[in-house]
Amino acid sequence: MSKAGYADVLSFFKGEAGDVIPILQKVQSEYGYISPESIRQISRFLKISENELYGIASFYAQFRFTKPGKHSIKVCLGTACHVQGGQVICESLERDLGILAGQTTPDGQFDIQRVACLGCCSLAPVIQIDKDIHSKVASIELEETLKKYE
């Protein structure tokens, strides 16, 4: 994560005010999260204060400030998933992995995030691991599913 890396990422942008969110998104997709170093670099590039930038970034649920696991698990807790027992799925995952939503396992394999809606409501409850969406999940199948990613 050298300085040159940031220069590459930032070279896509002109540095206009409207670029703040696209830049944060790009940095997060490159590095996995927004580190204090990212905030420093972007703040210099856009010529806005680190505080202001962090204020914008922390407003949006998409941005994370801790290092993600190798595989990211998103548990959908939209209405349809809630009605179909999404909360149970989330808690089962938390217990299986021994972490809470928003945390990463000590071995860095998995992290769990709660999301509002993945838009696959008719197949509820759903979870997303990396880019794969798993539909109609049951808590008894979770262990099996996770094994595929280890």
Partner: protein, 644 residues
């Protein structure tokens, strides 16, 4: 115009070529919902089967046709024949179907859903029309007409089906004429508030100055709704054409699409479609030889529900925290970068090409006089046939839930319209008509079109608490009634659902709700208490049960129950044992299991996993007084009163 006709002719030749193809054509639904159901594995299986038998076929990927519970859906058209659809396709079924239909010519009728007769191919005998499937029968597909039928990644497919004809008609007749047709059509904003689209446009159009903006709002943050995602993934060009028509009518040269980053596939679809528009000359300078210039930019949202609100959305595009501001001035006069801006919902824009092509009067034939047209809904929850539907406004909730959706397996309890801003309606409202005014009069709203159906397994207090937790988390924090009010409402609901509330809490809940509604700055706060107020109004008994009896009839609220296993019903299958992640269940195969109450955290995982109704949920505190609903509910063990 001549350039357009040329493009269209070429596109039609390509489209018709598909129908007169000398090899079979296989269509596979690969929108997000199809993929979630395993469409990509199916695709792999198709390719392998074709290779194994040295068969030739073309594979076309399409969007979602609507009945998501049947995904993945695969259609096969033999040369010169109609498209035959198969649902819930698995790799195993693919092999059976392909080997039988492509080699022996037998379409495996027991696996067939129906055939699409609207094509040119000759119908296959003894197979019903897919559109006579109960879920599709009473639908009218205006905005969804191409979804699941054409390849969304191919602009030629769209062009061949009257694509961009609306834009050309608009160019020919001028902006005034377009505005007139939209006014005549009477279409109202499909984002939920129902403001007449023509009126919004007039205000912006009459503003002086050259720089104007048009924004497509695809920030579908409402949990439980996916209409915009499905439309964009199934027919992105319809939305983009609508946006361009809007730009032309308003005199705006810059268009934005503000879309949720949680929809990566939809974003990809839009990027690809915009590239194609550039290549064909539907974007850029002097579009199709007219003097109209237009560019479209995609802005990805970053996960904030409040950004569905116009002024917050604008703040977010400008690179600030997505916080709303007081209106007026409205965005139509002071919007993006301080310029006149119109923000329309994705569905509104997707409908425009149709209205412009066929005229406002044509559109009025659907729906009712004050609520013309059709509306898409995502029908989800405990309904049998889930998916995306499009019906004329003015249909009743009963028709939508029971005729289109097939009803519920366990007895129907409630339906939530309008997402977190809407209301929870009980069965007495099943016959009310679905239009902006009727829904508002019973304390709910139309919203963007999420319909979440709940059966007896849902607890209304829990549902209200869920929505309030959501709005509380999504409140931007700018105004006090919303920031602090939703937080207090949540605390009160927490008390009720944990059995620690008094009747005073119930009164406070209603009073504070009114304060939040009246005092909040934007729509998020003004509508946040709707789920609370409607559940109290229509399900007061259940609130009283929670408070006075410490009893939750659905068995959802924790701390009011004990879980144990009925030895007579338990088959010793060990499923609950595997489901339990707190090691509270013990037992060996074929022997009845037991739950260790000290370890049980009442997560319901075993209750949901058990296939024999052997997990019983017994109320701890319920005193057995039959005063509430007269039938002595609750003195029984919960699991027994649930009909199969």
């Amino acid at each position: 115009m001549s350039k357009y006709l040329q493009l269209r002719e070429r596109a039609q030749a390509k489209w018709n070529g598909l129908k007169s193809s000398s090899v079979p054509v296989i269509y596979l639904g690969t929108a997000s919902c199809g993929r979630a159901a395993g469409a990509l594995d199916v695709m792999e299986a198709i390719k392998q089967t074709l290779e194994k038998h040295h068969l030739e076929a073309r594979i076309i990927t399409v969007g979602c046709i609507g009945p998501c519970h049947l995904e993945p859906i695969m259609d096969i058209a033999l040369p010169g024949r109609a498209r035959v659809s198969y649902g819930n396709v698995t790799p195993q079924k693919v092999r059976t179907i392909l080997e039988s239909y492509l080699i022996k010519g037998d379409p495996v009728r027991k696996l067939v859903l129906g055939q699409l007769k609207n094509g040119r191919g000759e119908p296959v005998e003894d197979i019903p029309d897919f559109f006579s499937y109960p879920m599709l029968q009473s639908q009218i597909r205006v905005v969804l007409r191409n979804c699941g039928v054409i390849d969304p990644e191919d602009i030629d497919h769209y062009l061949a089906n009257d694509g961009y004809l609306g834009l050309m008609t608009a160019f020919e007749n001028g902006p005034e004429w377009v505005l007139g047709e939209i006014r005549e059509a009477g279409i109202r904003g499909r984002g939920g508030a129902g403001f007449p689209t023509a009126k919004k446009w007039e205000i912006c159009r009459n503003q002086p100055g050259k720089d104007k903006y048009i924004i497509c709002n695809a920030d579908e943050g409402d949990p439980g709704a996916f209409m915009n995602r499905s439309l964009i993934e199934g027919d992105p060009h319809a939305v983009l054409e609508g946006l361009t028509i809007a730009g032309f009518t308003l005199g705006a040269n810059h268009g934005y699409i503000y879309i949720r980053a949680e929809y990566p596939l939809a974003v990809e679809c839009l990027r690809n479609a915009i590239d194609q528009m550039h290549r064909y000359g539907f974007l850029g300078r002097n579009i199709m030889g007219s003097d109209f210039n237009f560019e479209i930019k995609i802005k990805e949202g970053a996960g904030a529900f409040v950004c569905g609100e116009e002024t917050a959305l604008i703040a977010s595009i400008e690179g600030r925290r997505g916080m709303p501001r007081a209106r007026p001035p409205y965005p139509a006069t002071h919007g993006l970068f301080g310029k006149p801006t119109v923000i329309n919902n994705t569905e509104t824009l997707g409908t425009l090409p149709n209205i412009v092509c066929n005229g406002g009067e044509w559109y009025r034939q659907f729906g009712t006089s004050g609520n013309p047209g059709t509306k898409t809904f995502s029908l989800v929850g405990k309904v049998k046939r889930t998916g995306l539907i499009e019906v004329p406004l003015g249909m009743t909730l009963r028709q939508i839930i029971f005729d289109v959706g097939g009803g519920t397996t366990k007895p129907f309890k409630a339906v939530q319209t309008g997402g977190p801003s809407g209301g929870c309606l009980s069965s007495e409202f099943l016959d009310s008509s679905v239009d902006y005014e009727s829904l508002r009069s019973i304390g709910s709203i139309m919203g963007s079109g999420g319909l979440i159906v709940m059966d007896e397994d849902a607890c209304v207090v829990d549902v209200a608490r869920y929505f309030l937790k959501f709005t509380q988390k999504e409140s931007c924090g700018k105004c006090v009634p919303c920031r602090v009010g939703t937080s207090h409402l949540t605390t009160m609901l927490d008390r009720i659902s944990s059995g620690n509330a008094t009747l005073e809490d119930l009164n406070d809940l209603e009073e504070l709700s009114q304060t939040v509604i009246k005092g909040s700055l934007c729509g998020l706060g003004q509508t946040a208490p709707n789920p609370v107020l409607t559940t109290i109004r229509y399900f007061r008994n259940e609130y009283l049960e929670h408070i006075e009896q410490k009893y939750c009839r659905a068995g959802i609220c924790r701390g009011m129950y004990e879980y144990h296993i009925d030895e007579k019903l338990c088959t010793g299958c060990m499923i609950c044992l595997k489901a339990c992640s707190s090691d509270a269940i013990s037992g060996s195969r074929r022997q009845p299991h037991t739950i260790d109450l000290a370890k049980c955290i009442q997560c319901r995982a075993c209750y949901l996993a058990c296939k024999f109704d052997a997990i019983k949920v017994t109320p701890l505190h319920y005193l057995g007084e039959a005063s509430l609903d007269g039938n002595g509910r609750g003195s029984q063990v919960l699991g027994e009163e649930v009909p199969a």
